[in-house]
């Protein structure tokens, strides 16, 4: 899990917002989730990600990509596809995905 907000990327780039509610039983989830950062970092055009989850509540992961081709490459990854199938079959009560083109960004860092 990244602890720092992703900042300083020059627009345009893409944000993929994945919001989910998990089920109570999560057999195998942690191992699979732990694999994803290493996998996505291999994708050309992957720029970073951020993740947060309120205990017992909503989880939000935002992946940043240079362009649509980078998003498509991540979607084609076989291990990612298997994780998605298992997520629908076992782990998620519901989820939403929003694919968006970032037009501007700014950040604050305590001096």
């Amino acid at each position: 899990m990244s602890i720092e907000p992703v900042a300083g990327i020059e627009p345009p780039y893409y944000a993929v917002v994945f919001t989910s509610v998990q089920r109570a039983t999560l057999d195998g989830y942690e191992e699979t989730a732990a694999r994803m950062p290493a996998l996505v970092r291999e994708v050309p055009g992957f720029l970073g990600y951020e993740s947060a989850r309120t205990p017992g509540g909503l989880g939000i992961t935002v992946g940043y990509f240079r362009d649509e081709e980078a998003i498509a490459a991540w979607q084609r990854n076989g291990e990612h596809q298997a994780a998605q199938r298992r997520g629908r079959a076992e782990w998620y009560e519901n989820y939403s995905v929003h694919v968006a083109k970032v037009e501007r960004s700014y950040s604050f860092e305590r001096g």
Copy 2:
């Protein structure tokens, strides 16, 4: 805090991704944060929001808006501006904001 992912909005619309790391001392934060949902719901073109925070870690809030004018109206809100100033002065170690135009979205709901 919304517990359900926001889904079913017809693109195009905008997502404002606000990612933050809080400081240890948060005097007055909860009261101010609790005010924001009621305020933003008054903004014409506000479509919904999602929020998650890993305890001791990253917080991510995503606000969805119909268009740039709706985002601008929210930025002009005086109480929101005061909250932002206080956030920079007192509550946040760092944060990033990404303003993005959603091109497509999809969702999953357990049957």
